[in-house]
């Protein structure tokens, strides 16, 4: 403690010698030397070191700016491409819708045409069938008529024992008239 007090006392003594500057240890020669030394240091670093760093910083900054610009351009391009894709998609959708609608219409028309054709064909088939059936019925009726006539003739022949000829027929008619009378 004594030493400490002695130190401070010596400082105060210094103060009385060189004023407050002396007490604080400020020495004009040392101040100038240190100031000049610092300025030399600034000059040396400013001349040989900082330009290298600044160049590197500027180059990096330029690269970043370039990258940023490229990114912005790419983003713009992507945005444009997206817009174009959206536009194309919209057009494609419209076209697809139109194609689908047309195809539907065509399909409907085709179905309707096929339907009409089928109907007509069916009607024709039915008409043909009806005609054929009618013809067959007529033919069958005719055949049945003929067969009936033949059967009647055969039955009559069997009953009369003679073949019915015109002469026989006349005799039978005459006998019948006589009987009636």
């Amino acid at each position: 403690m004594n030493v400490l007090l002695t130190q401070f006392a010596s400082t105060e003594a210094g103060a009385s010698d060189g004023g407050i500057f002396g007490a604080l240890g400020i020495d004009l020669t040392m101040l100038i030397v240190q100031g000049i030394a610092f300025l030399i240091l600034v000059w040396v670093l400013g001349k040989f070191v900082y330009p290298v760093f600044l160049k590197s910083v500027d180059e990096r900054q330029a690269k970043i700016e370039e990258g940023s610009k490229a990114a912005a351009a790419a983003e713009k391009k992507a945005s444009e491409a997206q817009e174009e894709v959206a536009k194309l998609l919209s057009e494609a959708r419209k076209e697809a819708g139109f194609i689908v609608a047309t195809a539907k219409e065509e399909a409907n028309a085709a179905v309707e045409a096929a339907d009409a054709k089928a109907k007509a064909r069916a009607e024709k088939i039915v008409a043909n069938a009806t005609e054929t059936i009618e013809k067959e019925v007529i033919a069958a009726k005719k055949a049945l008529h003929n067969e009936t006539i033949d059967l009647v003739a055969q039955a009559t022949e069997k009953v009369l024992g003679h073949v019915v000829t015109d002469k026989v027929d006349e005799k039978v008619i005459a006998a019948a008239i006589k009987e009636v009378n």
Partner: protein, 276 residues
């Protein structure tokens, strides 16, 4: 306790002490460590610059370059004018690196404990008021030089001297501004000196108090001092830029060249007050 202090012969001196003389020039203990710090700084900076030039990066080179880039951006943001910021930047950056390295050098083992003819052989350069005062003078003079470049010689004087009849408030402000310049000079130098000196005394006192446990306790305080060293270097750097920014700032719209500075001039007084 007081007796033990006395017995331990705690050597504390406010001023840097001469270790030897070259002619009539006294080589002080702060100058010796300062020369060591500056040599270290030059070695580091030239090493890093060489590596950057060759494009060979490692973590240390990256750290120094990252610091440089960050501080450059800070300077441009504070000053507002990119061209002026790059003009003042070498001084501010050199202040930062010099204060940082010499402050950190004062934490090296042996500083304060190694003596020569009863005088400590080494003392931190920022703990020498000659150094901090020289830095403060250079900072203030540099800001005045840039202010004269911006406003002209008489324009710059017009910032401090105004007609008290035409503009009494302005004249009073001018006087305050002039006092402010001197207070900045004193504040800049004493802040750094006070912190560095207190740091050295703190380490010395802790070493004495903890005795054999000093090797365990001191590292914590050394780390703390490293942090304080960085903060002080950064504060000096920022204040250099702020004072320059304030000196070149224009009030009103009569100077169209400095429209970009209006913003910084509005912000920097607040920042300066916060830092001070």
């Amino acid at each position: 306790m007081l007796h033990s202090f006395a017995a331990l012969d705690l050597h504390i001196s406010l001023a840097a002490e001469p270790v030897f003389h070259i002619g009539s020039f006294a080589v002080t203990n702060s100058l010796i460590l300062g020369i060591f710090g500056v040599v270290m700084l030059l070695a580091i900076m030239f090493y890093v610059a060489g590596k950057v030039k060759r494009g060979k990066y490692n973590r240390f080179v990256g750290l120094v370059q990252w610091t440089f880039e960050g501080f450059l951006k800070s300077a441009e943001d504070i000053i507002g004018d990119k061209v002026l910021a790059r003009k003042i930047f070498p001084i501010a950056m050199t202040i930062f690196f010099t204060v940082l390295i010499t402050y950190w050098a004062s934490i090296l083992p042996g500083v304060g404990s190694l003596t020569w003819n009863g005088v400590p052989l080494f003392r931190g350069l920022p703990a020498d008021l000659n150094f901090t005062f020289a830095l403060a003078i250079i900072t203030i003079v540099a800001s005045q030089v840039y202010a004269i470049q911006r406003h002209g010689f008489f324009g710059n004087i017009g910032r401090y001297v105004k007609n008290p009849i035409k503009d009494p408030i302005g004249a009073f402000e001018g006087v305050l501004e002039l006092i402010g310049e001197f207070s900045r000079l004193v504040a800049l130098s004493l802040r750094l000196f006070g912190n560095a000196f207190a740091g050295e005394v703190l380490l010395l006192v802790i070493a004495v108090l903890t005795s054999y446990a000093a090797s365990v306790v001191l590292p914590f305080f050394m780390v703390f001092e490293l942090f304080i060293g960085f903060i002080q270097a950064y504060v000096f750097f920022v204040l250099t830029l702020i004072f320059t920014s304030l000196a070149v700032a224009t009030h009103g719209n009569h100077d169209e060249h400095t429209s970009s500075l209006d913003h910084s001039s509005a912000d920097t007084p607040k920042a300066a007050k916060q830092l001070e």
